[in-house]
């Protein structure tokens, strides 16, 4: 006989309280703002779904969302294959393994705003190492404060520099877990290098790559600090990604209602895409 016992609830209570205070209650405040108008002084006016409608139909939001998807798309298209390629070319054993791993982990240890500041100085046209080299040595006109294309190339390069390591480390973990017998069997079966990659390495990396892509999607979709420090969303609005736009709206213009509605839409998109991707990737494993 199983005895019913409700005491377990007390054990999860601390977690529930913690989650409530750091996630649920702040989020409900946002929900509260998103359906009302306020002019300060704790005065609120009911607005219903007006703010949501306004955000969803605004061109400004569409443009920021488009830039955001472009940015995240570029990041994934570059970082995932590059990360796999680097992981494949890393040694599997010996002296160089820890050296490679530490070198790979270094960029990820640097605080985000420091990364932004570093790249800002690095690319300054007259004094930055890269900026000076491009402008004065090679004679290429490069100034990311003036040229949107230069700004885009810079923020994408910066993110690739900062975060490809994550994909490398996860892919590498997947690779080293493949038993030697697989490679030996493939040799005996006469498999080409491409076949080894396609039928052994890639399938064995699938789980970790799913995690890597998911993490890179979420992080790059929510990215704020680095582009804010580097370009501040400019020149013009050309690198104003969703989070930068959101902060402008909330803190710059103090449009708390629309900003709250936008946060929730933003959150829903991130969650929705992640869920869809994860479900598609793990669908085969379930049956």
């Amino acid at each position: 006989m199983k005895t019913e016992n409700q005491r377990a609830w007390f054990l999860v209570l601390p977690v529930l309280v913690l989650v409530a205070f750091n996630a649920l209650i702040p989020m409900m405040t946002v929900v509260n703002y998103s359906v009302q108008e306020t002019f300060g002084d704790n005065l609120f006016f009911w607005q219903g779904l007006d703010w949501y409608e306004q955000i969803l139909t605004s061109e400004r939001f569409h443009a920021a969302l488009g830039r955001q998807f472009l940015f995240t798309g570029l990041i994934l298209v570059i970082e995932v294959p590059l990360g796999i390629a680097i992981a494949l070319s890393m040694p599997r054993q010996g002296f160089w393994v820890p050296v490679c791993l530490v070198l790979m982990a270094l960029p990820m240890l640097i605080p985000w705003n420091v990364v932004g500041a570093m790249w800002n100085i690095f690319t300054l046209p007259d004094i930055g190492l890269l900026g000076y080299f491009l402008n004065h040595t090679l004679g290429i006109n490069y100034d990311m404060t003036q040229d949107p294309l230069a700004a885009w190339i810079t923020i994408v390069t910066m993110d690739v520099w900062h975060w490809t390591s994550l994909v490398v480390l996860l892919a590498y973990a997947g690779l080293v877990s493949i038993p030697d017998a697989y490679y030996q069997a493939a040799k005996i079966d006469g498999a080409s290098n491409w076949a080894v990659f396609r039928f052994i390495q890639l399938p064995k990396m699938k789980t970790v790559l799913t995690i890597a892509i998911l993490l890179r999607f979420m992080d790059s979709f929510n990215i704020y600090t680095e582009p804010f420090v580097l370009t501040g969303g400019g020149p013009g609005n050309s690198t104003t990604l969703l989070s930068i736009d959101l902060v402008k709206m909330a803190l710059g213009q103090f449009d708390l209602g629309p900003a709250a509605a936008m946060s929730l839409i933003y959150f829903a998109i991130t969650l929705g895409v992640s869920w869809l991707f994860y479900t598609l990737m793990t669908k085969d494993d379930l049956n």
């Binding site: 017998a181 030996q184 069997a185 040799k187 005996i188 498999a191 039928f199 052994i200």
Partner: protein, 361 residues
């Protein structure tokens, strides 16, 4: 299919081996005849997997040569040797169907699709996996996965040798027996040279026509299962094969006779002249009987294992096991042991040192 010759083979995993203890394989000279079923038997770490990897080409030996039909293949890569190997843990290509798994080695070699289809169908039928050909390989049970990896080894018709590296390790005991007899049957059908590596004597003795017993990087004895059982060339073989293994009893030799605990023990034949640090009598428990007179012993333990009774006795410092059919003695009882002379041999420094008597021939 080919005859395989291993000539003066030595291998060390160290770049600069000093003494014999640095060698995983000490000195191997061996011929495997075309179409034979061989087993490489020995405890873990005796060098059998090293030897297998050298034959398949995954390892290049430190010294010596490997010949396939008198063609030197020592430096050739596994693909060029045309061999197949089945590993301890089933290796399957997860994303492919069973059919594609079986076809993989053929397609890699550019075999035309009609031939691929014919061979896959034949092999699937032999291995009894025809009904799961279109299933995804990742979802199979371990024994079916291992069948698929065996199938990939057997699917090529021109293969020189198929090697099995303890292929039944991960298989459930009740399926082990089935797969083992399947393998034996496959050998009789395809007549390819097969080498089966194992540390399990039952697997080795049921599969092979010829068993190669290894210890510490050396071949101790090559023979049929009956040879190994009846006339072990080394005390290691006697002890390793059989359950319980051969009784190895320290003895003295005087005037061409062997004395155990002061009593003369009749042997199968004459003692081969020679010098050695230690001499031992070897006799299998199967050939030790309880009698009215003989070596006096105290019964330590009696285990009835169903088919027969194992009696463990103590003679002075030494333990002697006997296998009897009935009339088990009591523990603590004093009994007399008789060793069947034509099955009792002398070993000097581990190696057989009696000439075969007429009875044994």
């Amino acid at each position: 299919m080919a005859k395989i010759t291993l000539s003066k083979l030595r291998h060390s995993y160290y770049p600069d081996p000093q003494g014999p203890e640095d060698y995983a394989l000490k000195m191997i000279d061996l011929d495997w005849t075309d179409g034979g079923a061989y087993a490489l038997l020995g405890p873990s770490g005796c060098g059998k997997s090293t030897l297998l990897n050298i034959i398949s080409g995954l390892l290049v030996p430190s010294e010596g040569r490997i010949l396939f039909d008198d063609r030197d293949v020592t430096e050739l890569a596994p693909t060029q040797r045309n061999i197949a190997q089945v590993f301890q843990f089933p290796v399957i290509y997860d994303t492919m169907s069973v059919r594609d798994n079986l076809a993989f080695p053929l397609r890699n070699r550019g075999v035309d699709e009609a031939t691929v289809a014919r061979r896959v169908a034949e092999i699937a039928e032999m291995l009894e996996v025809t009904d799961i050909l279109d299933r995804k390989a990742a979802a199979l049970s371990p024994d079916n996965k291992q069948k698929v990896s065996m199938g990939r080894g057997l699917v090529r018709e021109d293969v020189n040798v198929v090697m099995f590296d303890e292929p039944l390790t991960v298989i459930d005991p009740h399926l082990k027996w089935k797969l083992r007899s399947k393998l034996k049957e496959l050998h009789q059908r395809v007549r390819a040279t097969m080498i089966y590596v194992t540390h399990d004597q039952t697997e080795a003795l049921t599969f092979a026509d010829q068993v190669v017993v290894m210890q510490d990087g050396e071949i101790v004895q090559i023979g049929t299962p009956v040879d190994l059982f009846e006339r072990p060339a080394h005390t290691f073989v006697g002890h390793f094969i059989g359950s319980p293994g051969m009784n190895i009893l320290p003895c003295e030799t005087r005037d061409g006779a062997a004395l155990f605990q002061g009593q003369q023990i009749p042997l199968e034949g004459d003692i081969v002249p020679g010098e050695g640090k230690r001499t031992e009598i070897g006799v299998r428990p199967e050939f030790v009987s309880l009698a009215e007179s003989g070596v006096e012993a105290v019964v330590r333990k009696v285990s009835d294992v169903g088919r027969h009774i194992v009696v463990e006795t103590q003679v002075g410092e030494d333990r002697v096991a006997a296998i009897i059919k009935e009339n088990a003695p009591e523990t603590g009882e004093t009994v007399h042991l008789n060793f069947r002379p034509d099955r009792t041999r002398l070993y000097r420094d581990g190696w057989l040192a009696t000439t075969a008597g007429e009875a044994a021939q």
